[in-house]
Symmetry: C2
Subunit: 278 residues, 2 copies
């Protein structure tokens, strides 16, 4: 499958070499599930992108063009993953942002293979998320913290490198999210998810589940997570992933996680199919 | 002047679309002064790059090839600025870093026009630098904080947008650096510069001046800077820039700044020429 790159509204062969996304990570991205040729939750993804563009004072390309190019990539009705990167555009040397048209790129990817949908194994990452309210919530392209956290798996000195994913804490020690997913924990019959006002990404699937599960946003400690009755991760590509283990702590499958997945499947046909497979 | 791009050791037309620098800012850069065809402080720049690569667990291209390609760009003996970006290379979707050969890019740029070499006007930036010891010191490509700080100039609601540069504080309130330069302040006859262990970049010119001026690395408060006897900024392209104003505070030219510039000119012919011009 082919990648489509644009400078402003013009299709080009490659990202311009003076792209500010490449120079400074000065951009935003969205990773979307495509189910039967349809991009799932398009409006929610575009709304988050707009929110990010306002925060970074960036100009987005026209939604209509991006949408029709995205649809064209999956015109055969297949499923998969669609990644959109939008950068501030081309710029000279220097941090000062100019009012340049965005450079952007659409790339199709295969669906991930989910081995252990309800039996996910987690560890605590040593890498912390720095507190930066100016960037919290939005899906920007400054992702070295996530890269460093994932690189811990390559370090033989690190414990539990057999884990599927890792939980990240803020500089202050609050639990924030997994490396590439948001976190929900069940305590006293109520779903809780970390606040995303200091660091972390406001995930699209998280946003859907806030209302669907009447979730409470809270500061969560390590103990709050480890003593929870049930834990799951979620993101827009994989939906809900039940957690079976976090370090020494193990959880059996919990009916509340199965119920959450049924509720999500009702509003999202892509995850309905997946739930039947698992 | 033309940009040279490489995937591993092979010259290519453009950065690969799946470059991790573009996706995550997963890379490092150096901005170097070229004086009479010679890259200044090459060894110091390469050493910082190696330090960054160790921290990010990234593989660098061979120094010999990078150096000879850099020299070729300035083979006519001209002066200018050379920017090197080295990324972790191409990667699929996902944060997990693979052991891929680096993608890298050399671009020549004109020398900046220094309008007010010894009469720089500064303001305090509202944007803070997040505390992240895992990334402090190295010149990585996650630079949205610097972009946001520089974007404050485009906001009519912000004070003092006529300033030349801005000073940045950490989340804790310590003064760290300017947006694109390091900071030195004179107090009680001694030069001080902020510690770079929590955030900020260990500038190459800063490194030269640490020894040359017997500088003490310290935590500096806003008051420490505002009540200093003299202040200058420095970086590897512009050398030493004397500060005449910071918000309401003004400083006359100080002989210690002139002396610092003379000492720097002695070890660096590029700045000797500049000092004569100024």
């Amino acid at each position: 499958m082919s990648v489509r790159v644009f400078a402003g509204s013009q299709r080009v062969d490659a990202m311009p070499v003076d792209d500010r996304g490449l120079a400074y990570g000065d951009g935003l991205f969205e990773t979307m599930l495509v189910h039967a040729g349809q991009v799932s939750w398009w409006d929610a993804h575009w709304t988050r992108l707009q929110c990010g563009a306002r925060r970074l004072r960036m100009v987005l390309p026209g939604q209509g063009q991006v949408r029709s190019e995205a649809d064209a990539l999956f015109a055969d009705g297949a499923g998969g993953v669609l990644k959109l990167i939008v950068t501030r555009g081309s710029g000279g040397r220097g941090y000062a942002p100019a009012d340049t048209p965005a450079n952007w790129m659409l790339s199709p990817h295969p669906l991930p293979i989910t081995r252990s949908r309800d039996r996910l194994s987690l560890r605590w990452c040593a890498t912390r998320l720095a507190t930066q309210p100016a960037l919290a919530g939005i899906k920007h392209c400054n992702r070295l913290e996530q890269v460093l956290a994932r690189a811990e798996w390559n370090d033989p000195a690190m414990a539990d490198t057999g884990a599927d994913e890792g939980l990240m804490r803020s500089s202050e020690g609050d639990v924030v999210c997994a490396i590439a997913a948001n976190l929900f924990v069940l305590r006293d019959g109520r779903w809780l998810t970390p606040k995303i006002d200091r660091c972390g990404v406001e995930g699209i699937c998280r946003g859907q589940l806030l209302a669907l599960l009447e979730t409470h946003e809270a500061r969560l400690s390590v103990a709050d997570v480890e003593t929870a009755d049930a834990v799951f991760l979620c993101n827009a590509v994989r939906g809900i992933l039940g957690v079976a283990r976090l370090g020494e702590r193990t959880w059996p499958s919990h009916p509340a996680v199965a119920q959450a997945r049924r509720l999500l499947a009702r509003i999202h046909p892509g995850f309905a199919t997946d739930a039947e497979i698992s």
